[in-house]
């Protein structure tokens, strides 16, 4: 198990370099001079633009730019944004907010999704099951920004139960509404996954054996049915954790949350190489770790899976 984990962690190194270089290349290839665009129609003198370009190595070829970034990176310096702010500071303010939002959303979708999915799976074809299917279909088909705007208008503007947007400190209670919006689509998927998996497992041999052994119904359902049904759900949650952590541009925009998604979006639009690459590098690490976590959880959930040397 340890060996396996170590091997997986070592694999991160080439992934990291490959991903950062690829992203740098893509940002570098964006059309247009980012510095000239910063000023819009109010063009400063060419001399000023040239100096600012030189300051960010934008007058250098791609490899030199990437080299400068990597030298800084290895010394713990992630570079600066075009406004002169250290990228590390930007990360330190954006990631905790997104992490809180992601954890809250993950909690909502996991708890509610598994619960509803389990009940629906146990009562297949009954009223609860049918309604769960209809509701989840609805959530999947309605775009997030519609759900976001509607929830914001109803709960924020009309009822006044929640703050319309999230303030700078992004306390948990203000994040509940955006987390619900963010969780809505994944919640629907989890309901469907759990339901299908539970109803499959109900007919499995090991469940029949357990029941025949004389185990109580709650024990059969929780230990034998649910535990085995969670394997696909956990896979989904792991991937979802990754995508939640890298931010949600739409939801962040609606609720004015200063998170990862919006920051990266703005940086891409500005052509801000160091910011985009640093954020993406962290995202890559998060994704790899989330996948590793999922793989390790398999072993815990399904007794048939063991990681040998």
């Amino acid at each position: 198990m340890l060996w396996y984990t170590g091997k997986r962690l070592l694999q991160m190194i080439p992934v990291f370099f490959g991903a950062t270089f690829l992203i740098y290349f893509m940002v570098f290839s964006l059309p247009g001079d980012p510095i000239a665009a910063l000023y819009g129609d109010r063009t400063p003198s060419p001399g000023v633009i040239a100096q600012i370009r030189a300051q960010y190595y934008l007058d250098q070829p791609l490899l030199v730019q990437y080299f400068h970034y990597m030298v800084g990176f290895l010394q713990g310096d992630l570079g600066t944004t075009y406004s002169g702010r250290p990228v590390a500071d930007v990360m330190a303010s954006a990631f905790p907010v997104t992490a809180r939002l992601a954890m809250l959303a993950l909690l909502f979708e996991a708890v509610a999704g598994i619960l509803v999915g389990l009940i629906a799976g146990l009562r297949k074809g009954k009223f609860f099951d049918t309604s769960a299917l209809v509701v989840s279909l609805l959530l999947i088909s309605v775009p997030t920004f519609v759900i976001g705007f509607v929830m914001q208008f109803v709960f924020g503007v009309q009822l006044g139960w929640a703050r319309t947007t999230v303030s700078g400190e992004a306390p948990l209670n203000e994040l509940i509404l955006p987390a619900l919006v963010l969780a809505s689509v994944s919640f629907a998927y989890i309901v469907r996954l759990t339901r299908a998996s539970v109803s499959d497992n109900l007919n499995a041999d090991f469940v029949r054996t357990a029941t025949a052994k004389g185990l109580s119904r709650p024990r059969v359902v929780t230990v034998h049915v649910l535990r085995n049904s969670l394997v696909p759900v956990v896979t989904f949650l792991g991937v979802d954790l990754g995508s939640l952590m890298v931010g949600a541009i739409v939801t962040e925009g609606i609720f004015n949350i200063n998170g990862v998604g919006g920051t990266v979006y703005k940086a891409i639009k500005l052509g801000e190489g160091p910011t985009v690459v640093s954020f993406i590098a962290v995202m890559v690490v998060i994704f790899v770790l989330a996948n590793l976590l999922v793989d390790l959880l398999y072993a815990a959930l399904d007794p048939r899976i063991r990681y040998a040397k």
């Binding site: 247009g32 000023y39 000023v48 500071d89």
Partner: protein
């Protein structure tokens, strides 16, 4: 207040002989005691400043809002765009080339350092110095000693004593004082020059507001300002401070005004154009702003130059139904253009000679286009370049359709992913058709709408328009001895533009704003920013 107010017309005092621009002592008479809570903080929308808050490096609206609140220059503008003296006691000149600036007594920065002639001269020198790479350095290019490509001191600036300095311009400019209300001309305290980057994080100014302590600027979140007790100028706040909250989308800000989290919003999102007046009865504004929008024409391409091009440019202009597009696409939040400036600027005119070319006229457009076709038939597609990330698609398509339906030619919008990409093609002279263009005035003057865009070799004259007649009239206007005379010359210069049509004026952007019922006295100024200092909270 009236006694302090110095209209732009004051420059016409020059008729007596000497050019004089002086007002009565600022701060000798106070405004009536404000109603409402003078401690209350007003919340308003903004965006993260693009640069550290250094006045000479802040040209965008996000930072501009903060800088004009935190600093006070020699003069400031009233809501109507008239000049009022702030730190200046007088700005005088005999020949419009050599100016003497005298400062009012008693001005201090919020760190108690007195505002002296040196505070201005040092700040302007810093802003102009080549190696400081300040975005607004070009504002100093008419002061003697300025250089665009090497470090050089502004030799035209001389400190006489603590309260006086002189300015020598490269050439006479009668309305030079008009621009001094722009943020780039703010004074800086000595502490700024020790570490400009750190100063930009926590600027110390002499304006109506100051930062609420160290770290009042929470990046990407908001900036908190409180009233500056040391300030005693004409913009004395009637409230306790200003909290500028940064939004990435105007929709979120709009929801916040509706939800009671924001007091004043100065830009209604497109999605609410139809409803904002109903959502905020009696608490909304929709008035012209100093923003001019146009289509730059490819007068250097085949078919678009010479006599043929002149006919075609006029035909295109007359085939655009500006009124209908502003009504339908913009729900009346744009005003069709009749000149090259803006209705909020003194000297704006809807009666320029040749302005009929800006009116929709199907018959005349077809006729001119046919005449051009007689010279050389046109078979191509007329495209209009725009950046797709700026919400321009709807109106560009509407304009293209209007041209297509009127002239029966192929006309389409050509989207570039970002503004940078569009700029690239423009600079590489790879454009094949018209380009959308916009201009927002830095200071309320006709000159600021004309010189930077159409003067030969000017910084933002990217497509290289050059007309000796226009340049000459502009020069005559800027060295005229009275405002009336200058205005007349600037209007004549625009008539040259109407003939040449290097750009087709489309419309003026309106400022659309709403405010919550918690605040009163919300008035939007000529620069589309609310006059924050006047706002009171119940």
């Amino acid at each position: 207040m009236k006694i302090n107010r110095l209209g732009i017309v004051a420059i016409s005092l020059a008729a007596v002989g000497a050019l004089t621009l002086s007002g009565c002592a600022a701060g000798t008479e106070k405004a009536a005691a404000p109603k409402g809570d003078s401690k209350a903080i007003i919340t308003t929308n903004g965006s993260e400043p693009q640069n550290p808050l250094i006045p000479t490096n802040t040209a965008e609206t996000g930072g501009g809002k903060v800088v004009t609140s935190v600093f006070a220059g020699l003069v400031s503008y009233t809501g109507k765009g008239e000049l009022e003296n702030e730190v200046a006691k007088s700005i005088e000149s005999d020949d419009a080339k050599n100016w003497t600036v005298t400062l009012e007594d008693g001005w201090k920065f919020s760190n108690d350092e007195p505002v002296t002639a040196k505070s201005f001269v040092d700040a302007w020198n810093y802003g102009a110095l080549f190696s400081n790479a300040q975005g607004s350095s070009y504002f100093f290019d008419d002061i003697a000693g300025f250089s665009y490509d090497a470090d050089s001191e502004l030799t035209g600036l001389k400190v006489i004593d603590d309260k006086t300095f002189t300015v020598e311009l490269v050439a006479p400019e009668a309305d030079w004082p008009l621009r001094l209300g722009y943020a780039a001309y703010s004074p800086l305290p000595e502490v700024a020059f020790e570490d400009m980057a750190a100063f930009g994080e926590n600027p110390i100014g002499n304006g109506p507001y100051m930062l609420k302590g160290e770290g009042a600027w929470e990046h990407d979140v908001k900036i908190d300002l409180v009233t500056n007790p040391a300030y005693d100028g004409v913009r004395k706040p009637a409230n306790g401070g200003l909290s500028i909250v940064f939004y990435d989308t105007q929709d979120a800000a709009y929801a916040d005004v509706q939800g009671g989290n924001l007091d004043v919003l100065d830009a209604v999102p497109d999605s609410a154009f139809e409803t904002y007046e109903a959502d905020f009865p009696e608490r909304s504004v929709n008035q012209p702003a100093a923003i001019f929008q146009a289509l730059n024409m490819p007068y250097y391409l085949k078919h678009w130059s010479g006599k043929e091009g002149e006919l075609r440019r006029a035909a295109i202009s007359m085939s655009i139904d500006r009124q209908e597009i502003t009504d339908v696409i913009f729900q009346g939040t744009r005003t069709p253009a009749t000149d090259f400036t803006s209705p909020v600027i003194d000297g704006y005119s809807d009666k320029l000679k040749g302005a009929e070319v800006l009116e929709y006229n199907e018959k005349e457009a077809k006729k001119l286009w046919a005449e051009a076709d007689d010279i050389s038939p046109y078979t191509g597609t007329f495209d209009i370049a725009y950046n797709a990330d700026g919400g321009h698609q709807a109106w560009v398509d509407a304009v293209a359709n209007s041209i297509k339906n009127t002239l029966g030619i192929k006309a389409v919008g050509k989207a570039y992913p970002t503004f940078a990409a569009a700029l690239d093609d423009r600079d590489a002279k790879k454009l094949t058709g018209a380009t959308r263009a916009g201009w927002q005035a830095d200071y309320p003057s006709l000159f600021n709408f004309l010189a930077p865009l159409y003067q030969t070799g000017a910084g933002s004259n990217k497509e290289g328009y050059s007309s000796a007649e226009f340049d000459g009239l502009l020069k005559e206007g800027s060295s005229a001895s009275s405002v009336e005379e200058a205005t007349a010359k600037y209007q004549e210069a625009q008539e040259v533009l109407l003939k040449d049509l290097p750009t087709l004026p489309l419309w003026y952007s309106n400022v659309t704003g709403v405010w919550a019922d918690t605040v009163d006295n919300v008035v939007f100024g000529w620069d589309s920013v609310p006059l924050y200092t006047d706002i009171t909270k119940k």
